[in-house]
């Protein structure tokens, strides 16, 4: 029975269909959600210097009258890297939620956390680097 099914063309084509669907989805996510061309299975590696590890993330804690940059700890490196690679609301909110658990030096809890994902671009002639924001999101913290 399995042999019969697998001999059919449609089953034979599953890997090819998977590759095509994943690569087209990657194109859509890169175009619409700032996914790094290196990520997502669209074969965009080695096509641009905008790789996830070349992006960087800034996080700011916002409380009344105070905006303080949060240093992203090592144990959140993977979460931050995912947010850098694909800065969707889901990944940015997940990072903000983790950062909100870090005790803050200010009195009172923070109202929100801003997450910014930056990428570096280069001047074509002199390779002078410049940074631009891929996505920025302010995540309100519950209970504030």
């Amino acid at each position: 029975m399995i042999k019969h099914l697998c001999s059919k063309a449609c089953l034979r084509c599953i890997p090819v269909l998977l590759l095509t669907v994943v690569a087209l989805t990657q194109l859509y996510l890169a175009h619409s959600y700032g996914l790094s061309p290196w990520s997502g299975g669209g074969f965009g590696m080695f096509s641009t210097s905008d790789a996830p590890r070349r992006r960087h993330v800034h996080a700011y804690s916002i409380s009344p009258g105070v905006r303080r940059e949060i240093v992203i700890p090592d144990y959140l490196r993977d979460t931050a890297l995912r947010a850098a690679a694909l800065p969707t609301e889901t990944y940015l909110t997940r990072l903000a939620a983790e950062l909100s658990k870090i005790p803050s030096p200010e009195h009172g809890a923070a109202c929100s956390i801003i997450i910014q994902v930056w990428k570096t671009e280069y001047d074509p002639a002199a390779l002078i680097p410049s940074g631009s924001v891929v996505r920025s999101l302010e995540v309100p913290l519950e209970g504030n």
Binding site: I2, K3, L5, C6, S7, L11, R12, I14, P15, V16, L18, L19, T20, V22, A23, L27, L29, A30, L35, P37, S39, G40, G41, G42, F43, G44, M45, F46, S47, T48, S49, D50, P52, H56, H58, L81, R82, A85, L86, W118, T120, E121, Y122, P124, A126, L127, I128, P129, S130, G131, S132
Partner: protein, 274 residues
């Protein structure tokens, strides 16, 4: 050796030499790949390839969206092998998937490089990569002939953390070596040419004349690309997939594929290529 057996053996060897996945998946993929290679009669076993397809797919799923392209292609290939082993005509099924997966992977790679990326065709990508990517270190050192101080100052300049623009005044911009631009342009045009050739030759219908060119283009891609970029696992996977569609009659092409596999292994151990 039959091309299906050779293709499967090279795939398993790839997974043993460069095991994939994190701490959970890696020992299992390594174990199944080693069992398939070492235990007589297990090379075509569904009990080896079904778990390998599952594990390589699990690795992509768990790491999404971060895995390298190589991880996705390995999953599709293990899945193709599994389906082929259940099929009545394993050889034809595997050849179809080997040929089409390579063609599509190169077509999407070409689409990104030649049309969608804003910094590939003008040579910027290779200039930056040669200065910052450790996988290109040996190549960059040998073609640019820079001393350590010059190399470090260029690397630090392009790798500096920038939010916004650098100040226009008082900026100490290092002078780029003239050869950097030339080498970047050569790499850019060669990459587009060879990847375009592989994509077209693997996606057009099979004909005897095209078939030979197809294998030669893939072998040429592997032996040139992986001498510069030390990403052996990807090179070995492409060779294993290439073998599957090379046809039973052409023994010389099979030997060339095996020689290319060994050459990439040599690249990975020689200091001048590392």
């Amino acid at each position: 050796m039959n091309i299906v057996d050779l293709s499967l053996r090279l795939t398993l060897l790839d997974m043993v030499l460069r095991p994939v996945g994190d701490r959970t998946v890696r020992p299992l993929t390594l174990a199944f790949a080693a069992l398939g290679l070492l235990i007589p009669g297990q090379l075509r076993s569904k009990f080896i390839w079904l778990p390998l397809a599952f594990l390589t797919g699990l690795r992509v799923f768990l790491d999404w969206p971060l895995p390298d392209n190589h991880a996705y292609l390995l999953f599709y290939w293990c899945l193709a092998v599994t389906i082929a082993l259940f099929s009545r005509d394993s050889e034809r099924c595997l050849a179809f998937n080997g040929k089409t997966l390579i063609g599509l992977a190169f077509a999407f790679a070409l689409l990104w490089k030649a049309f969608l990326s804003g910094d590939f065709m003008d040579g910027r990508f290779f200039s930056i990569t040669m200065l910052t990517d450790p996988r290109f270190e040996a190549f960059t050192g040998s073609v640019l002939s820079l001393d350590d101080y010059e190399m470090d100052s260029l690397t630090l300049f392009v790798e500096q953390h920038i939010d916004g623009e650098l100040p226009a005044r008082g900026l100490d911009i290092p002078i780029l070596p003239s050869r950097l631009h030339l080498v970047s342009e050569i790499l850019t045009y060669w990459t587009v040419l060879i990847e375009g050739a592989v994509a077209i030759l693997f996606l057009i219908p099979s004909m005897a004349a095209v078939s030979r060119l197809r294998d030669v283009s893939l072998i040429l891609f592997c032996v040139t690309t992986y001498s510069v970029a030390t990403v052996e696992g990807f090179g070995w996977l492409l060779i294993a997939m290439g073998v599957s569609q090379s046809g039973e009659r052409s023994k010389s092409i099979r030997y060339l594929y095996v020689a290319a596999f060994l050459l990439i292994l040599v690249y990975s151990y020689l200091p001048m290529f590392r």
